[in-house]
């Protein structure tokens, strides 16, 4: 019994920090409709700043608890101010951009902050020196429980009460609640949105900073804090219901307790468990515990998708020439170039498969790496346990991915918008967690090595040709599909579900079809990648990999059929040439993403097409 009590208390104290972060995220989302990836970075900065300020204050006035509390408050305020600054400089310009671009812009901020933190605080973990009062324990039911954690348990409810007071009793809070319900109405009543939004960003970021600050004594500050927490915070916010602070509180308790007990009961599957809880909640309550269906605030400003026309002939010729050059590369280029070309072929298919869902389907997936990874692991596990040769492995890869695509897609295609994005992210994290934690089966972090091609394909040139035939062939098939009746039906379901159903189209089934086809494509890409590299790792399924795919599609332009191809080539080339040359490549990439979002919201191919159509006097939409 004692053990259960102690685990329960541990869960409660973890829930506090989780709630601080999630409440900030949910308040920001509720008012601005921005899903802020950089929220995890604010949490990380909260921890780092607390570390710096606390040490400075302690050097000055001794290791007093009061100075630590002061440092926490300073850090939270500083992070809040930074959040407000980012809102003013960046986000204010993109409130009307599609959701995805906002998400991407905030991911750019994540990368920038990662490198700044690295430059300022260095790569080492920074633990806070623990004076005796931080090491004290209290006796609970015969067990020792950290006193600091006991105090943390109170922080969550205290902040909840403070937020309740703010939202119920102050003018600012009432405006925040009003804007969460109906942003347009609040604007119509003459409230200055800019001040409101900046204020909300200050509040939300400060809460994230506070969350990072209070976990510092037990965790130390480190560079991977941001992405580790953001996935968890998303889960809490989605489970609680987007925009709902009490929902975030309940969900943070639920998730923290699931983790606290999961780590004892199923230590190998804690991560999977959290995401299973989330998936379970969303299946029963699609809008979270206390959430409501999203108001269609964005529909009015929605951009009209342009008409897809057959590509100009010159584009086809350019593509054919590029392909011929790539295929001839082994005769004039070095082995490194050939390896890169294999990667390019793989990523073109990876991006094109995501594009089928995102573009014509309007299904925004934040977990497309899941299917890439499932393909790679399908090939590797087939080799490891069934000793299947490459030929069979390359069949197994898309099939495994497609099977999971069918199961995950069945849930996902019923949702839309942010919930859809978050659910796909959660499914991807389940797959990632299984690959990462289920060491006996998947090799865990060490991955599976020795995934080599069959003899005939082992040469660099032979494998390049195989990769081109499979990946570029599949990409061309996907293109063909977009122009075929299926692609039109998919766009029809996206443009107007009401009309689609009224002309006999089953929108959900068509979207599910696209989901499975996209998974098959990504799975094949993953399989080809696995044999090309000779190994598979959980990083193939990680969040950054999913973001890579999104970046490729968006860089090229989601509204064009050639976009993903151009985007994959541009992104990977950029990554290999420019980024790897820079020590601070994250900073450069982050800035590039932010600039891209601000300057070319339609992507490269979209920009070119607009120019082309304008020059020729073709009517766009």
């Amino acid at each position: 019994m004692d053990f259960i009590l102690i685990q329960f208390l541990t869960g409660l104290s973890n829930a506090s920090a989780l709630f601080l972060i999630a409440s900030g995220l949910t308040v920001i989302f509720g008012v601005t409709r921005i899903v802020n990836f950089a929220h995890g970075s604010f949490y990380m900065l909260g921890a780092y700043l607390t570390w710096t300020i606390t040490r400075a204050l302690w050097d000055w006035g001794g290791r007093e608890p009061l100075l630590f509390v002061l440092a926490i408050l300073f850090a939270a305020l500083a992070v809040g101010a930074l959040g407000a600054l980012i809102e003013i400089v960046l986000l204010r310009r993109i409130y009307r951009a599609p959701e995805l671009f906002q998400l991407l812009a905030t991911f750019g901020v994540v990368l920038i902050i990662q490198d700044i933190a690295l430059a300022v605080w260095g790569p080492e973990d920074l633990p806070l020196p623990r004076p005796p009062w931080l090491r004290r324990f209290v006796e609970i039911a015969g067990s020792r429980f950290p006193q600091y954690d006991l105090i943390l348990i109170l922080v969550g409810p205290a902040v909840l009460a403070a937020l309740w007071f703010l939202f119920q009793r102050t003018r600012f809070g009432i405006l925040v609640r009003a804007a969460t319900q109906d942003r347009e109405m609040v604007a119509a009543l003459g409230v200055d949105q800019r001040i409101l939004f900046t204020g909300v960003f200050f509040l939300g970021s400060a809460l994230a900073g506070l969350g990072g600050a209070i976990v510092l004594p037990s965790q130390s500050a480190f560079l991977q804090m941001d992405l580790a927490i953001i996935a968890e915070a998303f889960v809490v916010v989605v489970v609680g219901g987007l925009g709902s602070v009490p929902g975030a509180f309940l969900a943070s308790l639920l998730i923290a307790e699931v983790q606290a007990f999961g780590i004892v009961l199923v230590p190998k599957a804690t991560l999977v468990l959290v995401f299973l809880v989330m998936a379970g909640v969303l299946i029963v309550r699609p809008y979270g515990l206390l959430g409501r269906p999203q108001a269609h605030a964005r529909a009015a400003t929605g951009t009209v998708e342009p008409v897809i026309r057959p590509a100009p002939a010159i584009l086809g010729w350019a593509g054919a020439v590029a392909l011929a050059l790539a295929a001839a590369a082994p005769f004039f280029a070095g082995p490194y170039a050939v390896t890169v070309l294999v990667e390019l072929a793989v990523f073109v298919l990876f991006a094109a498969s995501l594009h089928l869902m995102m573009g014509p389907g309007g299904i925004v997936s934040f977990g497309h790496a899941a299917y890439f990874g499932l393909g790679a692991y399908g090939a590797a596990l087939g080799l490891r346990f069934l000793a299947v040769p490459m030929e069979a492995g390359l069949v197994l890869a898309p099939l495994l991915a497609g099977l999971f695509g069918l199961v995950f897609g069945w849930f996902a295609v019923r949702l839309s918008g942010v919930y859809l994005a978050m659910l796909t992210l959660a499914f991807a994290q389940i797959v990632w967690a299984a690959a990462f934690q289920w060491v006996e089966f998947t090799g865990g972090d060490n991955g599976i090595l020795g995934v080599w091609p069959s003899d005939w394909a082992r040469g660099k040139a032979a494998y390049l040709w195989l990769a081109i035939v499979l990946c570029i062939g599949a990409t061309l098939l996907l293109r063909r599909m977009i122009h075929a009746p299926f692609g039109y039906a998919l766009r029809a379901a996206r443009d107007s579900e009401l009309r689609a159903e009224a002309i006999g189209l089953d929108a959900v089934r068509i979207r599910l079809g696209a989901f499975v086809i996209a998974a098959l494509g990504a799975g094949l890409a993953g399989g080809v990648y696995a044999y090309g590299k000779g190994s598979v790792f959980p990083t193939y399924i990680s969040i950054p990999k999913s973001i890579d795919a999104l970046l490729m599609v968006l860089l090229g332009g989601v509204q064009t059929v050639s976009g993903p191809i151009v985007g994959a080539l541009a992104y990977h080339t950029l990554f290999l040439t420019v980024l790897q040359a820079f020590a601070w490549w994250r900073l450069v990439l982050g800035l590039a993403i932010v600039l891209l979002v601000l300057a070319f919201p339609q992507g490269i191919a979209g920009f070119v097409r607009q120019r082309y159509e304008r020059a020729r006097g073709i009517e766009g939409a």
Binding site: V304, E305, P306, V307, I308, P310, L477, R480, M481, H483, A484, P485, F486, G487, Y488, A489, R491, A492, R494, D495, S496, L498, R499, A500, E501, A502, I503, G504, L505, D506, I510, G513, E619, G620, A621
Partner: protein, 250 residues
């Protein structure tokens, strides 16, 4: 001559305490334009949505050529030969006018799950023929996203005709249109109904449109039918005059 194309018997629908549709029965015959009118809140839209499958009735039944429609989804009802236009037009904005009609034809001919031959090469001639019928042939290459509202209504009509329907359901077909456009659209609809021997049921606010184009009119008020007949009969009906001109019966 066989029975009615669409027949509804004893329809009821409640929303909480509101009896939105109370024992409504009606029938539409081939070649006939039937208007469903009534003041705001009379239950027209609810009644309309019971007929097209968007809502399920609490009691009563709807039959299309004798076949019950209860529990069928809108897309299944379309397959049985029911074409629809919406109060606020719903077309595919990312496609050209011709492509919109082609998608409807592709669905009608069950070619949705084909992945190879470009959609543009499916049923192009049929689409052009339909567009010619609604007077949109000259705009076939324009994207639907840039069309004038009245033209969008014509595109909807062409899409509604793509499955060679027996019944046309039009919800406020002329809402949001200029007066001259209204008459043109209703003239067009009427000629299509006559030519193709369609049954057409429409709701409408504009009394000029109703009295000028409907063969028969049924009037709803507070969930119930209060009058039925041709334009002259309905115009002369005291209950209708009461609802539209009088005190409203408080």
């Amino acid at each position: 001559m066989s029975g009615p194309v669409l027949e509804a018997r004893g329809l009821h629908k409640r929303f909480g305490g509101v009896h939105a549709v109370n024992d409504v029965s009606l029938a539409v015959h081939a070649g006939e334009m039937l208007a469903l009118i009534g003041p705001n809140g009379a239950g027209k839209s609810t009644c309309f949505n019971l007929l097209n499958g968007q809502l399920g009735a609490d009691a009563g039944e709807v039959r299309l050529e004798g076949r019950p429609l209860a529990g069928l989804k809108p897309r299944a009802i379309w397959r049985l030969g029911v074409g629809r236009t919406f109060q606020i037009t719903a077309t595919f904005a990312s496609m050209t006018v011709r492509e919109n009609v082609q998608v409807a034809l592709i669905s009608h001919h069950r070619r949705v799950w084909s992945f190879w031959r470009p959609a543009r090469r499916h049923f192009g001639n049929e689409a052009d023929a339909l567009l010619a019928q609604v007077g949109m042939a000259d705009q076939a290459e324009r994207p639907c996203g840039v069309l004038a509202y009245g033209d969008l209504k014509r595109v909807e009509l062409a899409m509604a005709l793509a499955n060679d329907p027996k019944l046309l359901l039009m919800d406020e077909p002329t809402a949001g249109m200029a007066p001259s456009e209204r008459i043109a659209l209703m003239e067009l609809t009427r000629s299509l109904v006559r030519e193709r021997r369609l049954a057409c049921l429409f709701t409408e606010h504009d009394m000029d449109v109703v009295f000028g184009h409907a063969d028969r009119i049924i009037v709803m008020n507070r969930g119930s039918l209060i009058a039925e007949g041709d334009a002259a009969a309905v115009r002369a009906n005291p209950a209708v005059r009461e609802v539209y001109l009088g005190s409203g019966g408080h």
